[in-house]
Amino acid sequence: MRTVGKRSIFLYLIIFVFCAGMVFLAARVFLNGSSWASMPFNAHLYDDHDEQRRGSICDRNGTLLYSDEKGFADSSREALLHLLGDREGNISTGVFSLYSAELSGYNPLTGNAREGNLFKTKTRLTVSSQACERAYELLGDRSGAVFIYNYRTGEVLCSVSSPSFDPDHVPEDIETNSSFEGAYLDKTISETFTPGSIFKIITAACAIENLPNWKSWKTECIGETEIGDGCVTCLEHHGEIGIREGLMYSCNVVFSELAVELGGEKLAKTAEELGFNRSFLFENAHTAKSAFDVSNAKADELGWAGVGQYSNRVSPYHMAVLMGSIASGGETAQPYYVERISAAAELPLYTAEKRSAPLRIRETTAAELRTMLRQNVTDYYGEYLFPGLDAGAKTGTAEVGQDKDDTAWMVGFLESPETPYAFAVVVEEGGSGYRAAGSIASELLGILSEE
């Protein structure tokens, strides 16, 4: 009988293969369970009315923004639509889409198949609904975006995109009416705009890093300058002007000549170091790339590129993070707006991972830019815009042609230690950067500093 016994070894092989396979299966379920369980065809995600289970969502102060029982909060529903999401899933960024597994209560222990109050989730966002509501009001019927975040902790305080809509009463002509163009997009991250003068910050950075005597660099602004076959115009005659005042008064002559002097290659290198032509990961959504490409630019086009009027495009998110990097002296915290998602008994399903943003600027460059941008406020825009907040900022009024009004920008930061915020405000067809965007930034930062 012994030999028959020995020959049964064959069966051990199958036992081994089976056990190995089951271990492998268990590992795959553990590692991928979250994404598998949040597939849209998973019927457990939906309640009896075919609505996704999302629990309740609050802002940083505990104000209810959304709950399964009550739906969207009335006053903030349009302002926060892009942060939350719509019911149909047309908005692909936003908590509903990006965290559908966690919102459904998924965890490796109990999955997300059990129902009942025990498994309802509570989500806390970092934004202030009050500031977001006001931001949306101020944008009015204009297309635009506001992004404000704490550059030390990464908490996003205000993120609003316009146009928006009421998710419970989706306009019938939302796809055809031009006033709803981009309504599904979160323009803070998924849209890019012509930067105009705010691009001068990047040109200035390039000069700081490549011209050893940039502090004594001067040129003569007579309202225009001839570059190559073309001509770059400036809105005023600034006379003899250096880089520092050029940034303050936003002189096109200074920065177009600088661009040509530095050359397209160096400018592109600085731009890419500072985050251009790159997509960022923001709460698992990929941001639109800010664009800078002067490889085929003629000399005068390069000059315009230096003042942000060539093919340059920037996203508000990118600009805000750049401001945050400058304000924090090189490295800023990675922005996030989902603080935590917990199940019953405060069991944490998701907690925000605090880390650094993958955007870095040299400490020395950051220091110089910080001083210059701060001076813009103290000596030009006026402290009254951001009283007691020690702000630094830059406006931009970008020409976009096509018979449209200019795109208004203001980007900046607050140095005050209680309110270490960086911001970017953009208003399409806003006209003047200072009036349209600056006024919004001023009011919102005032609201936030008082919370």
């Binding site: 020959r7 049964s8 069966l11 299966l25 379920v29 369980a37 998973n42 198949a113 059990r114």
Partner: protein
């Protein structure tokens, strides 16, 4: 009857917590039952001491006889080695049957002598008889000392067995409660299958332990646990299917008893071998001629309202045909007959397009063939032949090749046939988590083949991953048990058939589970005991009988007559 209860009652945290706790209890019970049964099986094995001795007349050396079937010869692989040139390599087999010790000559050159006379057929021996092999003379000598108390097996604990049966019923009760409360409505209908299940459980228990006075019940208990879980799980899918499964399980238990009864006489079973082979071929032929095609495979016969899958029954017949006693193994060394039979079976299955079953038959053939002959060459040749077969199939049957195309990439095809079922299975396994959604509250069952091929996913989704993995461990443990019992059973017929049965069950489980979770291409084989399929249920109970037969204690009551 359905009693409407307000929705808020079910949403309340306390209710959810209680249901979850109950479920945890069920999981703990299942694990306890499984552990108990296999520990008991392990303890119930015969201790491998010498059961009798052969004294060499020449030197007085006492050779211990360790097994119930022993090969005697010059070969080093024999159980009793006689390194004398006058002895053939495989000279004889000394085996123990009910009537006593028997010596059988296995085509030796010189022949075997008992008390001086050459035997021409197997001969019954008495203590003191002289066996002449070659130039040696061996005297059959009983043990001097009776087995010491420590060597005696652990005393059978009737109370513990009954406790385990109660625990099994408790598991069913909890699952029934979950079924009563599924879908946020209260219904008492699930208690009907529960009552029927309990009747089956206690019926088998009282028949086996009470009537037949058997001392072991582990295999039956495990079979009932798996069967009951499957029945209740399917009740949550469709009550009609559950009742069919119950009826099939009852039939299966009858087959279980029948096979154990047939297997009591190993030599008789060996003689029936040809009959089994003919039966198997006939079953396939009938299916081939009169069968109906269902889902691409012509593997079904419809008799009125009942549908039968004969290939499932042939699995049992196949093992009967393949297993063999040691003396027959030694006498008829070549496997041609069995290989031919296996080839015919596998061929029929290919022609009927049931490739999953064909693979299972092929694997079982390899297992049995290797256990019988130990010839790696045969295995390699068979595998080569199979490889050629698979290659030909892939060439001429494009839809089979498609299955391979999706394999490993199911997430790239979530909305077409290459990945639909597997992605849903994986999603719902993840959704269920460790403890499941509660019986009846799953959605995978609504997908095509949810109650048959994908049932492992339903098991994970509704009862949880721990529950499902615990049930799967049963198949591993069964295989390990048969392996550990291989030299302790009463004949190689039990060793081979039990290993083959356990191997078949495990392999089929593996093909089913791996197929729906994208570890292997998807095939249409069922998960034993759980999947819907009456013929499958009857067959796996039949396979369980082989494993039970390998347990000595099954026939033990009569064993204690002499020596």
């Amino acid at each position: 009857m359905n009693i409407p209860v307000s929705l808020s009652f079910f949403a309340r945290g306390r209710f959810t917590a209680v249901m979850l706790l109950l479920h945890l209890m069920a999981v703990a019970l299942v694990i306890h039952i499984i552990v108990r049964c296999f520990i008991s099986l392990r303890k119930g094995r015969r201790i491998q001491n010498a059961v009798i001795f052969l004294t060499d007349s020449a030197g007085g050396a006492k050779i211990p006889v360790l097994y119930w079937e022993n090969s005697i010869g010059r070969e080093k692989t024999c159980d009793i080695i006689l390194p004398d040139p006058s002895v053939s390599r495989d000279h004889a087999v000394l085996k123990r049957r009910e009537r006593g010790w028997i010596i059988a000559d296995t085509a030796s050159r010189g022949g075997t002598f008992v008390n001086g006379r050459k035997i021409d057929a197997e001969t019954l021996l008495r203590p003191g008889d002289r066996i002449g092999i070659g130039t040696l003379e061996l005297v059959l000598t009983p043990r001097d000392e009776p087995a010491s108390p420590e060597q005696k097996r652990r005393v059978y604990s009737g109370k513990r067995t009954f406790m385990t049966v109660l625990e099994t019923t408790a598991v069913f009760f909890i699952l029934t409660l979950e079924a009563c409360l599924k879908g946020n409505a209260l219904s008492f209908k699930p208690f009907l299958p529960f009552v029927l299940l309990s009747a089956l459980v206690f019926g088998v228990y009282f028949y086996s332990v009470g009537l037949l006075k058997r001392v072991s019940f582990e295999i039956e208990n495990i079979g009932l646990l798996l069967t009951g879980t499957g029945v209740l799980l399917l009740y949550g899918v469709d009550p009609h299917t559950a009742y069919i499964q119950l009826a099939a399980a009852a039939l299966g238990v009858l087959l279980f008893c029948l096979i154990i009864w047939i297997l009591e006489l190993p030599d008789f079973v060996s003689k029936l071998r040809i009959g089994f082979e003919i039966l198997g071929v006939m079953l396939f032929a009938v299916t081939f001629v009169f069968g109906t095609v269902v889902n691409g495979a012509k593997n079904w016969i419809f008799i009125g309202p009942i549908s039968v899958q004969p290939s499932e029954l042939v699995k049992v017949v196949f093992i009967f045909a393949g297993a063999s006693t040691l003396d027959r193994l030694q006498t008829h060394q070549n496997l041609i007959e069995f290989i031919a039979f296996a080839a015919v079976c596998t061929g029929f299955l290919f022609l009927m397009h049931d490739f999953g079953s064909a693979v299972i038959f092929f694997f079982t053939f390899l297992l049995i063939a290797f256990m019988r002959s130990g010839s790696i060459r045969t295995v390699i040749l068979a595998v080569a032949a199979a490889a050629i077969g698979i290659f030909l199939i892939l060439q001429f049957k494009p839809y089979v090749a498609l299955r391979f195309a999706g394999w490993g990439h199911v997430w790239e095809y979530p909305y077409d046939s290459l990945g639909y079922q597997q992605t849903r299975t994986l999603t719902y396994i993840a959704s269920g988590g460790l403890f499941g959604s509660g019986l009846g509250n799953g959605y995978l069952k609504n997908i095509f083949a949810g109650d048959s091929d994908l049932v492992f996913g339903v098991l994970c989704e509704e009862l949880g991953i721990i529950f499902a993995f615990a049930l799967c461990s049963v198949f591993v443990l069964l295989a390990l048990y048969t392996l550990s019992d291989v030299t302790r059973s009463r004949s190689t017929i039990y060793s081979i058939s039990s290993c083959a049965a356990a191997g078949l069950l495990l392999f089929q489980t593996m093909v089913n589970i791996f197929g729906v979770t994208d570890l292997l291409p998807l095939t249409g084989v069922t998960l034993p005991f759980i999947s819907a399929g009456g013929s499958s249920m009857v067959c796996v109970w039949g396979l369980l009988a082989f494993i039970k037969a390998s347990d000595e204690r099954t026939y033990g009551a009569r064993r204690r007559k002499s020596i």
